[in-house]
């Protein structure tokens, strides 16, 4: 007999999702003494067991390709050695795309979510990023200004630890920084080229410790952040926020909990969260005074859209109809240059951070004579990476042949490549959104999302500018482009999808107020990247941290006042 199990306990706050947003909310609230239950759709994380940091490829017989060589057939979900944090396709949990849409949705199902692997790039939005409409007449302004978020950027940076230098560049506001590591050889050459071209190239801002912080030790420079860090020297919500929050005794963690919907009462307040316990495939309800959605922008939108009732026929908190709309991803384009100056470079350990030590912030923000709005930053790759499956396929293509000459070519070229990746701002458009697919449910019986996505001419023009600029940088280094993406990235693949439950002062055009509190449902908050009004060229995670911090403090104060 089907029976929903209802636990009697009422939590002050139920947080849905344990990534950058949910982790920050759990951290801030438990430190303020609030009793929190955290629902995570995946299992518990055990870094010592789950992370493959420091493993050599030859420690597994398949060298990372998968026993059946899945890598070679594009069937490997995620790099074998990477942190176990998510998938492009989840068995039994599909999503669909409209016939004319290419969109991919990377989802995580483990404690800490995508923060277990993300690039740790931590960039503040600029003051003008909060006023896009005022700046160029496109998109919509945020309901908050930079100055309102700045103190929370400060708190987030000081707590998670971010490297950087004070540069006074308007497009890349300075923050609370730890000292950065020195640049690698190829980064020094990129910087020289940029100096010549009048492009800034500055130490990267990464959520990786170069100094001890809050009982976390500094980086040991193995270059493997993407595998998860056993010493927690980089930021992940699991290790840096949730494990410590569990120690406060204020946090109840419920894993394998796939949320179906939020249950409102007659007054329109959420009183319970309905979820599937994946272990038993049984439905449960957890009762709450308030709820914070932080399941990732699209999953949070999905939960609201699936929370339909006579009072909320369009889904919860969606009287405006904006839930699911204004979906954006970051514009991506990358190419690789071969740099003869780096041929046969004297060997040394160039691992450093798991990622770049230098980057190129947007530099044309005040220029009107370009043919596209907004901008992009450039991420720099190269050095002597740990050899891996596929790393020398480009050499096989370019040199062909076999034997001693192939071997010599690979040795000569190792370390002589520079990768440049552009990450640009997409402007929300009416053709890009997600909605409930009326025909498909997942293995838990929950209706799934259907995506519509389209780049506009703005983004396509930006990619042309990226291609020209990157080529110029490579050639200024005396190099030559040997590989380039065929064009703009596929929507969703930069994994910066956001904007689907946007905030704003007007309840007719936004779902959340300036505190990420639902206009329609007073005890409902959103703390992932769904509230973002625009998708500036800065990686979203640090802004998720800062905005979630601000939301959590507001919520704690509202709870204290009994005003929520």
């Amino acid at each position: 007999m089907f029976q929903i199990q209802r636990a009697p306990k009422v939590y002050d706050v139920v947080v849905i999702g344990s990534g950058a947003g949910g982790g920050t909310v759990a951290h801030v609230l438990t430190r303020l003494g609030v009793e929190v239950a955290l629902l995570e759709a995946g299992p518990m994380l055990d870094p010592a067991r789950d992370y493959k940091e420091h493993m050599w490829p030859y420690e597994v017989d398949h060298r990372g390709a998968g026993e059946g060589g899945e890598w070679y057939f594009g069937r490997q979900q995620w790099g074998y050695f990477n942190a176990p944090n998510g998938y492009w396709e989840i068995e039994g949990e599909p999503y669909t795309t409209a016939p004319d849409t290419r969109f991919r949705w990377f989802r995580s199902r483990i404690l800490g979510g995508r923060t277990n692997h993300y690039g740790r790039i931590s960039l503040r939005f600029a003051d003008y990023d909060f006023k896009p409409y005022t700046t160029d007449g496109l998109g919509t302004d945020w309901p908050i200004r930079y100055e309102e978020l700045a103190p929370y950027y400060d708190k987030a940076e000081a707590f998670i630890g971010v490297t950087g230098t004070r540069e006074g560049i308007r497009s890349a506001p300075d923050g609370v920084f730890q000292p950065p590591p020195p640049p690698r050889v190829h980064e020094i050459l990129v910087k020289k080229a940029c100096d010549k071209l009048g492009i800034p190239c500055i130490p990267s801002r990464m959520a990786i410790l170069t100094r001890p912080l809050n009982n976390r030790v500094a980086c040991h420079y193995c270059g493997q952040c993407g595998r998860g860090c056993v010493t927690a020297s980089n930021y992940s919500s699991s290790q840096v926020q949730i494990f410590p929050a569990l120690k406060t005794g204020k946090l109840t963690l419920i894993t394998e909990a796939m949320v179906r919907e939020l249950i409102p009462n007659a007054e329109g307040r959420v009183t319970a969260v309905s979820y599937i316990d994946k272990r038993t495939r049984s439905e449960r309800q957890i009762r709450c005074r308030t709820v914070v959605l932080a399941a990732s922008a699209c999953e949070s939108a999905r939960i609201l859209l699936n929370s339909k009732s006579p009072r909320f026929p369009n889904g919860l908190a969606n009287s405006s109809g904006v839930v699911g709309r204004f979906l954006t991803d970051t514009v991506g384009f990358s190419l690789t240059g071969y740099i003869p100056a780096l041929e046969n470079l004297p060997r040394h350990d160039a691992d450093g951070f798991g990622g770049m030590h230098m980057y190129i912030p947007w530099w044309l923000w005040d220029k009107k004579n370009k043919d596209f709005p907004r901008g992009y930053h450039i991420e720099i790759g190269g050095g002597f990476p740990m050899p891996a499956i596929g790393m020398f396929h480009g050499a096989c293509q370019r040199h062909e042949g076999y034997g001693r000459r192939l071997k010599e070519a690979i040795r000569r070229e190792y370390g002589a490549f520079v990768h440049l990746a552009g990450r640009g701002e997409m402007i929300p458009n009416e053709y890009s959104y997600c909605e409930i697919d009326p025909n498909v449910v997942d293995r838990w019986g929950i209706p799934v999302l259907r995506f519509h996505f389209r780049w506009s001419e703005h983004e396509l023009k930006m990619v042309r500018h990226m291609r020209e600029t990157f080529t110029e940088i490579i050639e200024t280094m005396g190099g030559k482009v040997v590989r380039a993406d065929p064009g703009i990235s596929v929507g969703g693949t930069i994994i910066h999808e956001l904007g689907t439950i946007r905030m704003g002062d007007d309840p007719r055009t936004s779902a959340l107020n300036r505190y990420c509190q639902a206009h329609d449902v007073k005890n409902l908050f959103v703390a992932d990247a769904a509230p973002f009004v625009s998708n500036p060229e800065k990686n979203p995670t640090l802004t998720i941290n800062a905005l979630a911090w601000r939301t959590a403090e507001y919520l704690a104060e509202a709870l204290r006042r009994g005003d929520v």
Partner: protein
């Protein structure tokens, strides 16, 4: 790691280290590595699990031709390239068919040209055929199956080689070690600057 240390002993040591609260992660990784090494040592000489003896000899010869040992470093055989391919083929029908088909094609082609199968032909006859199928410019209806097969074989041999201990040493990769501070040798910086359009300093 001596071979007669039992897995149980290793796990016991790891548990003790974990209880002492100091070495948990390192101990776990230590056990993982030691057990892997012991399993390998226990296996003895490798017996192909998928390929028949003739295919195995042919595959070994081919990988040796692609990445040979030279005065600088050992080659694909020392790196376990045939073993890597055997493992993957055992678990992947599609890949296995590509390999058995490709190896059979090579034998037929050698017999047509020189009256011998590939592995028994003279080295210069072997390389004469590879010199045709190792280049896209030679693509023709006649050679297409060989060219496609060789492209796969070359990539997978290269992968197996450079992910092995000897291949990593050949490249001179020096990382995957913990450091308290990150520094770049001045010698390397000056080497690159001197050779760059920017000049040395």
């Amino acid at each position: 790691m001596s071979e007669n240390v039992s897995r149980r002993q290793l796990l016991y040591e790891a548990a003790a280290a974990t209880l002492s609260g100091t070495l948990g992660v390192q101990a776990a990784q230590h056990v993982h590595r030691a057990v892997t090494q012991q399993r390998r040592a226990a296996r003895g000489p490798y017996k192909p699990r998928y390929f028949n003896p003739h295919e195995w000899r042919t595959l070994a010869r081919l990988t040796d031709l692609i990445i040979p040992a030279d005065e600088h470093s050992p080659g694909a055989l020392a790196a376990g390239a045939p073993e890597f391919i055997d493992l993957l083929c055992r678990h992947n029908v599609e890949l296995a068919a590509m390999y058995t088909g490709g190896l059979a094609w090579l034998d037929r082609e050698m017999e047509r040209r020189y009256g011998k199968n590939f592995v028994d032909a003279a080295p210069e006859q072997q390389t004469a055929l590879l010199d045709l199928i190792a280049y896209r410019k030679n693509d023709s209806p006649e050679l297409a199956p060989g060219i496609r097969f060789f492209d796969w074989l070359r990539k997978m041999t290269v992968d197996a080689y450079y992910t092995s201990k000897v291949g990593i040493a050949d490249l001179g990769y020096q990382g995957n070690v913990g450091m308290t501070e990150f520094n770049v040798p001045e010698e390397a910086i000056q080497y690159a600057l001197r050779r760059s359009p920017f000049g040395g300093e």
